[in-house]
Amino acid sequence: MKLRNAIQFTAAAFTLTLLALAAPPAISADKVDPVADEKAFKKFFYDKFPKLKPEDFVNGPYSMDADLYKQWQDKEQFPPYEFSLELGKEMFSKPFKNGKTYGDCFPNQGIGIRQDYPYFDEKEGKVITLELALNRCREANGEPAFSYVRDEMAALTAYMAFTSRGKPFNIKVPNDPRALAAYENGKEYFYTRRGQLNFSCATCHVQSPGERVRTEVLAPALGIVNAMPIYRSEWNGMGTTSRRFTTCNSQIRGVPLTPQDDEYRNVEYYLSYVSNGLPISGPGARP
């Protein structure tokens, strides 16, 4: 039953990808239906894991396995991301050389707003992620940009996620052909196989969540970005969304894009949109 659902879903996804590939690059906006996508995406995961509540999905593999769940509860007593959170809080409140702060760049002084990112900027015609907005804030205030895959960026996003915990993802795809095209491009990236191992994001995180690769339990795509950034024992440190995307691409022996490349921004947009309504749980901890 599980397998049949997976096959039906992936068959549908595959057909969509094929159609997208066969069609000319310009995607006609009337065919893109984010609302229907979100519904089908959630139904697939809810049917596959009937015992889980929707909000359980934001805890990734911990929801899939009783032993792991116990480990996670123990871990949350002394969360391994705490040092990052402390650092992020300190960085966030410390003024730049010009006297301004991160808060000045964001609505509500940057507190409790994680669930609204990424958003589509209609002026620019592109997707703006939280990591990108943070570096733009730094540059606008005369500070050099941080690496997207290192500890400083993880600390800032950890703090911003923490102040937003429990708030439901609230991603909007405006009725603008450019926004719909960005969304569709992200979706296409998500379902397209690549790398020497020939995996798409969906191969692991839609077709195989809850399954183990060696000892590691694969996380479901639903709710996966809600927990970002994450402390990973495997990394011995924190990882941003950018770090997760680039390392995934390396692990499948593909060539990672540059962090915050348009396609990565679009795939984060797609993935966040289909998790709309599920609570922010970041910063997370993962094995």
Binding site: I7, T10, A11, F14, L197, N198, Q207, R212, R214
Partner: protein, 121 residues
């Protein structure tokens, strides 16, 4: 005369030796190919079969694929095994299994060694 006889004896002895080596050679070669295949199957940077399949003798197997057991009775024709490892997407476009031959993760010789190993399971 005695030299000729000795030569003859030597020749016969040599032949016997050669034959016995020859007789032993093919199972021994197959055994070492299977042993190579097992290494490839467990090696993370090569076959890495264990990441997804439970295999006798392998620790901490993954669960994505079926357990690799009774392979010889399930796939009496080794060409079928070679084809699955070479590119399973041909048979099943939605498979998770990487196309080891098509994407040159393993050479033809390495695939053959993995098949030798699988046939011992």
């Amino acid at each position: 005369m005695s030299n000729t006889r000795l030569n003859k004896l030597g020749l016969i002895a040599g032949l016997v030796l050669a034959l016995s080596i020859g007789a032993a050679a093919s199972p021994a070669a197959a055994q070492s190919a299977a042993a190579e295949g097992q290494k490839l199957a467990f090696d993370r940077s090569k076959g890495n079969c264990l990441t997804c399949h439970a295999i006798k003798g392998g620790q901490y197997p993954g669960t994505l694929g079926p357990e690799l057991v009774d392979i010889k009775s399930k796939y009496p024709n080794r060409d079928e095994l070679v084809a699955i490892i070479y590119d399973e997407t041909k048979r099943n476009p939605l498979t998770v299994m990487p196309p080891f031959g098509r994407n040159r993760i393993l050479t033809d010789k390495e695939i053959s060694e993995v098949v030798d190993f699988l046939q011992t399971l």
